[in-house]
Amino acid sequence: MAQSILCPQVGQDLTEAKVVALHVKLGDMVKKGAIVAEVESEKASFEVEAFATGTVIALPYKVGDTATVLEPLVVLGTADEAKAAASAPAAAPKAMGAAAAAPSKASKVNAPRASERASDGVLRSSPLARRIASEAGIELATLAGTGPKGAVVLRDVESVIANGHANSQAAQNANGKGGLAIKSLKNGSGHPIVFIHGFGSDLSSWRPFVALLSIGNPMIGIDLPGHGGSVGATAKDFDQLVADVAASLLAAGHHRVHLVGHSLGAGVSAALTKIAGIDVRSLTLLAPAGLGARIDGDFVHGFLSATSESALARWMQQLVHTPKALPAAFVRATLSAREGGDLAAKQRQLANAVFEGSTQLFSVVDALHHYSGPCRVVVGRRDSVIPADHVENLPGHVAVHRLEAVGHLPQVEATELVSRLVAETVRAAG
């Protein structure tokens, strides 16, 4: 089956990147880990690595083109698919002399692009939804659209108004009353899946994961205080952190949600199950905080203190078991997000509110005892930030997945399995 290597998210909220080099051509065999392309944003250039082995069957962009972030940059397939692609004139004008293949096969090659059309990042809305939202002072970008191609339609605006959009105006302003930045990661229909990032990250870190997740629900991300678009917000302790996330979700009309959280975000996700007014349909916790007392305080301190790319890379490699698994783009994106702002200082503030040295100051074990929806916890056995054995404290109804040769970022080191587990958890909620 064809697999797409996506143009990376080269910086927070960048939607395009220039293709400066393509190291492969149609028909080339590519090995996992090989550098296939280079793209550059205004800030930095990034090498794009093949995450799988295969034959290049489509190259939607040429060198010099501007590529859309998270759209396929290189499509890999089997040798058969390569032949089919070569015989389809639109996909590859320079046929490799292969025999004609069934057109249905050729169109299959194009299928991934079509299915990603809804996640092209274009904000669509009906004229009426636009007008009503504007009259009510609601920012369309904060809404999850349920119309065709993820368009925001009247019912989406009405549901926000019905849920008291007075608060949503605060939510737009990260410096407002505990309002946090919420963004759509992928359009769809059904109850939204809310992704809550871990300490030191932000909602854009979910984009590559979300792009691979094959379920139809809308997906949204929220930036925790001191992170990403919520850099102006602070929380004095874990309870306030949870309350602010809850208030922001409710203000944006998300009262019935699936939650996927990582690390500190997983702790927040678990705690949200106790908040009145939020109906958590399912819970997937990746390397969750809040299950035990310990956390690697040195890591938190070192991560926040690093100012050079090499120093930050050394610390961030602690996040994974196989250092190569950590995309270089991750480190650069983290560093460039810190540039010229007080992000690190804000994050230190939050760290002090929820951790003390190597101690986590909060627990969500009780919340999980009371949660009755589908709940999965995924941890890496080689997690060096939060000990994997904290899962021993979990109640029996929670499914626990312990992954070999995986560190603190299961969604990066075991993307396929984790996306499958997220999909299963969401579906289990019915």
């Binding site: 009906s126 004229p127 009426l128 636009r130 007008r131 119309g147 065709p148 339609v153 009247l154 019912r155």
Partner: protein
């Protein structure tokens, strides 16, 4: 008000009868309309009542009949020319388009053409490509013509009576499927002015705009949609020229969504024009693209199965209404 149940064809006959009794200028000509009473029995009994000068059979010569009618109207009579199939009216297009439609303007308003061409169109009889067309768009396009498409017995009577009292050329387009349908017709003098649409079924969620034989189809679709919790409003413009824009806009302003249903093939159709009017006036009130459900751009096939497949069915209207409401197609919704 008292009502009687009449068939569409009986209602038309009453209109002609009443207007012939009222005004000596009214006469009717056509193929087989006098002694045989017309192929659809609309003119049955009129020969005996009004005599062969006012109820006259003609040879099979549509161009001549239409020419006689237009000329008589210019001379001050009120002719009704019955053409067996709208398809055959093409033989008289010069008289209709270049003479009847233009005369009033070109005489500075001194000359009028109170000419009524009664005919029928539409698919559904297995009578093939030359006897099944819905050609209202051709007349709709020509300034100076009135285009009337009644869907019910009451409208048929009221609109035909009005046609025979006003003074511009009228294309009175009936539908072969409607002649035997029944409906309540008000007793006494019943006149329906041109340019007044009618809400055939009120609703708040989506406006279905349909005329002629598509009105029963839209009403059946609305019934099915009601069972799915969707309240569709069915609006019948009744006359396409003049068009009751005000009522169309009022309805769509309320429902925020419109589905236009026309039996005629889609390309260059009246639905497209109504669609453009709505979007121009109500763009910021629309929550979904305006849907058009129309016939296929092909000659109507003879084969009954293919004929059915080429014109809108109830299920097409239901599906379009659900799309307009951003709801899943029925198959998916049921799961």
């Amino acid at each position: 008000m008292a009502f009687r149940e009449l068939m569409y064809r009986e209602a038309l006959r009453e209109a002609i009868d009443e207007e012939m009794a009222r005004s000596p200028e009214v006469f009717i000509i056509g193929e087989g309309i006098a002694e045989r009473g017309g192929s659809y029995k609309v003119t049955e009994g009129l020969l005996a009542k009004y005599g062969p000068k006012r109820v006259r059979d003609t040879p099979i010569a549509e161009a001549g009949m239409i020419g006689v009618g237009v000329g008589a109207a210019i001379a001050g009579a009120r002719p009704i020319v019955e053409i067996l199939y709208v398809d055959f009216a093409m033989l008289g297009m010069d008289m209709i388009v270049n003479q009847a439609a233009k005369f009033r303007l070109m005489t500075g308003g001194e000359g009028r053409v109170p000419f009524v061409l009664r005919t029928q169109g539409g698919a559904g009889g297995g009578v093939a490509a030359q006897h099944s067309q819905s050609l209202e768009a051709l007349f709709y396009h020509i300034p100076g013509l009135r285009v009337v498409m009644p869907s019910s017995p009451a409208d048929a009577k009221g609109l035909l009576k009005y046609a025979l009292r006003q003074s511009d050329p009228v294309m009175f387009l009936e539908h072969k499927h409607l002649y035997m349908t029944k409906g309540l017709v008000p007793d006494g003098e019943h006149i329906v002015e041109f340019g007044k649409a009618d809400i055939k079924r009120p609703g708040k969620d989506v406006t279905l705009i349909a005329w002629s034989n598509m009105v029963p189809t839209a009403l059946a679709a609305a019934e099915e949609l009601a069972a799915q919790g969707i309240e569709a409003e069915v609006l019948d413009p009744r006359t396409l020229v003049p068009l009751d824009k005000a009522m169309i806009l009022a309805s769509v302003s309320k429902t925020k969504r419109a589905v236009i249903v026309q039996e005629a093939n889609r390309r260059g159709g009246v639905a497209s024009d109504i669609c453009s009017i709505i979007q121009e006036e109500l763009f910021y009130d629309l929550d979904a693209p305006i849907e058009i459900v129309a016939g296929l751009d092909i000659p109507i096939p003879f084969n009954l199965t293919l004929e059915k497949a080429s014109v809108p069915q109830k299920s097409d209207v239901v599906a379009a209404a659900r799309r307009a409401l951003h709801q899943d197609p029925l198959g998916l919704a049921a799961q």
